[in-house]
Symmetry: C2
Subunit: 483 residues, 2 copies
């Protein structure tokens, strides 16, 4: 079998001029850190002889790299790598109109995507988790062992419905550090982020009610809406600034909306981080109509600028913001631990928890409480944030080279996700074709109702860069160009 | 403060003749094993002097004990303890009529009972769990440590929605041993028994549909019905034989019933174990109408006769029985692990799991799979079954002595629960009064709709016998007599 990464380049070469191929190869080497800032590139002659290409091709490639800001001529002695700029690729387009309220029914495709796209045999560009090696599993396991030694009867009784007091205290402490002054009594531990969303939605709305959501929005939000039997109004959401507050206000004024669901910090799939002012405005607009916000903060610890992590809930004066958090993205997805900062809906949420998901597994709660109490945890989050930022930038740069001209892509301010708009290409067809070839991506269709966003893909940049990832991205580019 | 148990006896004495008080005290000593079979009772003279009562009182007490089969005169040398018979206390009465289909709305009182009655500061006659010392926590913890050592990345990825394959295999293996030939593919792991019931009900019925349930039935069943928005028809259920199959058939014939929910083995709260024939008949009756059964087997490992554990699902030919199991009663309630043997509803249940409770916490699944693979686990279940049987009998004997005349009580064939029918006494008032005094019991009202079973109490016999339990039961008797 041929080495696939060569194979990918060879295929690309058929469509791009030769100098572009050479430039692209160097770009990737620089992005991947194979060539580092300050290092010298091969001389024109050496490259010409090594690659058997013309001097003109090499010169054109180097000039291209220089124009793109990757290299610079220094002292007439040669070409050196410089800090590459974050290059501009157009942002995806945003819908202009609010949709009418629709019943939600997306679970068939989502179920297919989650069942097949979740397979661990796939190149992991679909499921949104960060690489296991970036998670603090050794520390978490140490915490588990400590709990087993200290509380050998950890699970021998039914536990508190709202969650282990130790964990709730830690969650409240961390919320406080973000300017969100809640106490542990307001915290309700859940079996992961999806459970939190389900409980929050059940508390703020009843079957048949209308909830305004961002467009696009995380398919788990749509699943939760469907499970509760709610209808959704999709409000256009800009990848840079977030939900369109003007359109939202007009919607709240003209229609009976029971709640707004928003991911203000590290939107899934857009990667948007709303500014503090925008968050404040969002809270003000909804509070004017007495409408609660369910704020999904599953990714918020991954905001690249850590000062931007303050949730909309921090600006909530009336207890109308129900914040849903999760440990899945920054600690361990298989723990199934999330939480709700419930505001004035605490008793209703508790009641729904009592009759649906019930108590939450005791041991994971105690271990996470143990870990959260350490200074290590904060260091971990800081480090993870930088790693994810770095990795997401790298994926974006490589993707830009392989995707067909006319592609648009987000430039996220947080999280490990890229939202890619293909030029007239059906994302669901790309998803299906890639699945057959062992590469998992998520089709844009599942991020909205009635097949909107069909020309989109969501790419997870959570996995560490590897030859397999590189092959997967090459293949993605090829499939997009072929379809 | 006075010692409460003296206090209880003194109070009782005001209402009962003196000889009854003396007899009751000896009965309890024998029941508790303070006086053992073959041991001699104090002589009439010794007792008369010690207690400062008349010879007549002592003689009357001893004659009463002899009449009750507790002691026997031997060789004219004195009174000796003999094996006490299981004495007859009348079974609770059973309703005769099927109720009309009612929407379910019981969660307010249930929430109160669970929140307050679940406090660990109470004497634990309410929440149904077995004593932590009877659970195999050391072995379970060893299994946890082994998993941590062997799979340090246990929770670093999202896991399979249906549950860890190792656990599903173990569950299928155990089902097979009970004559229920399923394979691991049919098993769906859940976050406890309540989650299993919720998912099963969502799969077999839609909001507004009617489900036939036993009367009384476990309040968790009613909570799940309420959460899904179902209506319930309550079918009279006999403490000895189970749900009335004649009335059930008539109901299925005359009304649109979407499913039947039954606890065939160790009914909560009745302790009924239906015979194999009755289980077979139940399956046949429902299959005739093409109606699925949701079989709740949370307590089935606690059938006192282990051969009686075979579920109705073992007689199911058509995949219409959805069996819900739980590890809460026999292994560890705080793990929050249960499962569904899903029959033909597997895909629907998986889909609902995907959009509501989501994946189940990974580490507890792996540890339980580890434990279930050992021979120790089967020995544990055997031992636990005997201990619970012994304990439940003991509680029943002591209760019989303190409860007012006219009380009726079940004589369970499995499980750790007693269902007590008070003579014209409001069980909810008893529950409230006892709560104030630090004793937890569950009011009968939460086991049915519209306040039926208000003269009932459910008593959990899961806690090891102790002075605190004894005081709690004394107090229960006093409150029942006073109200």
């Amino acid at each position: 079998m041929k080495v696939c990464s060569d194979h990918g380049v060879a295929t690309a070469a058929r469509k791009n001029p030769l100098y572009e191929e050479v430039a692209s190869e160097f770009r990737r080497k620089i992005d991947l850190g194979v060539l580092r800032v300050g290092e010298k590139l091969p001389s024109v002659r050496a490259l010409r002889n090594g690659r058997r290409v013309s001097t003109a091709t090499v010169m054109e490639a180097y000039l291209r790299l220089e124009r793109d800001g990757y290299i610079r001529v220094r002292d007439r002695s040669g070409f050196y790598v410089v800090q590459p700029p974050t290059r501009a690729i157009p942002q995806p387009s945003t819908a202009r109109a609010v949709t009418p309220a629709l019943p939600v029914g997306i679970s068939a495709l989502v179920a297919e995507v989650l069942q097949q796209g979740g397979s661990q045999k796939l190149v992991p560009l679909g499921v949104s988790t960060v690489d296991p090696s970036l998670l603090p599993m050794p520390r978490l396991n140490r915490a588990f062992r400590r709990v087993l030694a200290r509380w050998p009867l950890h699970s021998a009784r039914y536990t508190e419905l709202s969650g282990a007091p130790a964990l709730r205290r830690q969650i409240a402490r961390r919320a406080l550090a973000l300017g969100n002054a809640i106490d542990a009594e307001e915290v309700i531990v859940t079996a992961g982020g999806l459970d939190a969303l389900n409980l929050a939605l059940r508390a703020v709305a009843s079957p048949g009610d209308v909830v305004a959501v961002e467009s696009p929005t995380y398919f788990g939000v749509l699943q939760a809406l469907e499970a509760v039997g709610l209808r959704a109004i999709e409000v256009p959401t800009d990848p840079r600034s977030g939900i369109d507050l003007g359109l939202l206000e007009r919607t709240l004024r003209s229609q009976r909306v029971k709640a707004v669901l928003a991911m203000t910090t590290c939107h899934n799939p857009l990667g948007t981080v709303m500014s503090d002012q925008a968050k404040k405005d969002l809270v003000a607009v909804t509070a004017r109509y007495g409408i609660p916000i369910v704020e999904d903060g599953a990714y918020s610890d991954l905001a690249f600028d850590e000062r931007a992590r303050r949730p909309a809930k921090a600006f909530d004066q009336k207890g109308l913001v129900v914040y849903c958090g999760s440990f899945s993205k920054v600690l361990a997805p298989g723990l199934r631990l999330g939480w709700i900062e419930a505001g004035r809906f605490r008793d209703r949420i508790r009641a729904f928890k009592g009759v649906t998901s019930g108590m939450t597994s005791a041991l994971p709660q105690l271990a996470v409480a143990e870990l959260l109490a350490t200074r290590y945890y904060d260091r971990h989050i800081k480090r993870l944030r930088l790693q994810v930022a770095e990795q997401t930038r790298l994926y974006a740069q490589v993707l830009r080279d392989v995707l067909p001209p006319g592609t648009r892509m987000t430039s996220p301010a947080g999280g490990n996700l890229l939202w890619v708009q293909l030029p007239g290409v059906d994302g669901t067809a790309v998803y299906r074709r890639l699945m057959q070839q062992g590469v998992g991506v998520f089709p844009g269709e599942i991020f909205s109702l009635r097949g909107k966003h069909r020309s989109f893909l969501r790419i997870s940049c959570g996995a560490l860069w590897s030859p397999a990832i590189e092959r997967g991205i090459e293949l993605l580019g090829r499939v997009c160009r072929e379809i």
